[in-house]
Subunit: 159 residues, 2 copies
């Protein structure tokens, strides 16, 4: 060690610290971004749920419903829970968060309800892909919507 | 017809018109919702692109990248073009639209670039699923990012 000038050693340590800080910054997005992303994710779910409802109400179109169901299932199974870390109980993304304090206090229940959402949306993709008729698709879509409502009732404040 | 009272016939016609109006309203979401949904969709893509970049920069995690890539591909192939109909050239969703007028004037080019986005994101899912190494995933992620940039350069105003 004595052959390395002290100034160089300090520069190396400083560089490592900058690197570590950058890594931490990268791993921890800002709360306002996390809230914006989760609000965006649920808007995309709302868009696609509306498309499915509209298709079921006005002559079922398998191709359209499959695209919409696939988008919902991919989002539902993407790891949405990571968008609700401690530190985001309050705050503003596109708008003030509507997540209830209970969500952060009961992460096991939130994970369970999120799991139901992932499972029923994945099942909707399977039912639509199988070529089932509109009645069967509507039935499974109803099951999916119940998982939305369960979680909203428990963990979302009214807008 | 003469056996049916005129008032009843008028009521039936009025009812049919209300039903038709409701159907049209259902089929045509408001411009502000379309703009909000497209802004949300691209935010979800940004979230998941950031996760992929972060994973590639800090020790590749296949499971995380697969979830993120699947979400991007599902959105890219969901029919995003339908969120850019005539009548949404200007307006506000979460914020004023950043779509350029050129996008609406050149829908064939927009569809082509959107098709590239769908194709390269689908290919990323395939590469990740295949168990390819981080270098191959990074290469395909680079191809995907180029499709984002191509479309932004052509059709998106800077924020």
């Amino acid at each position: 060690m004595t052959s390395i000038p002290r100034s160089l050693r300090l520069a190396v340590i400083a560089g490592a610290l900058v690197g570590a800080a950058a890594a931490i910054a990268q791993q921890a997005p800002k709360p306002e971004n996390l809230i914006k992303w989760r609000q965006s994710a649920f808007q995309v779910v709302a868009w696609n749920s509306g498309r499915i409802k509209s298709s079921l109400d006005s002559g079922y179109n398998k191709e359209q419903v499959l695209k919409a169901a696939t988008a919902i299932a991919a989002i539902a199974n993407s790891g949405l829970g990571s968008l609700f870390p401690a530190g985001t109980e309050t705050g503003k993304g596109w708008h003030d968060t509507t997540a209830k304090a209970e969500l952060f206090a009961n992460s096991a229940k939130f994970a369970e309800l999120g799991g139901d959402f992932g499972k029923e949306s994945g099942e909707l993709v399977r039912v639509v892909s199988s070529g089932a008729d509109a009645a069967a698709v509507k039935d499974q879509f109803g099951k999916l919507q119940k998982t939305c409502k369960s979680c909203h009732d428990e963990f979302r404040n009214a807008n």
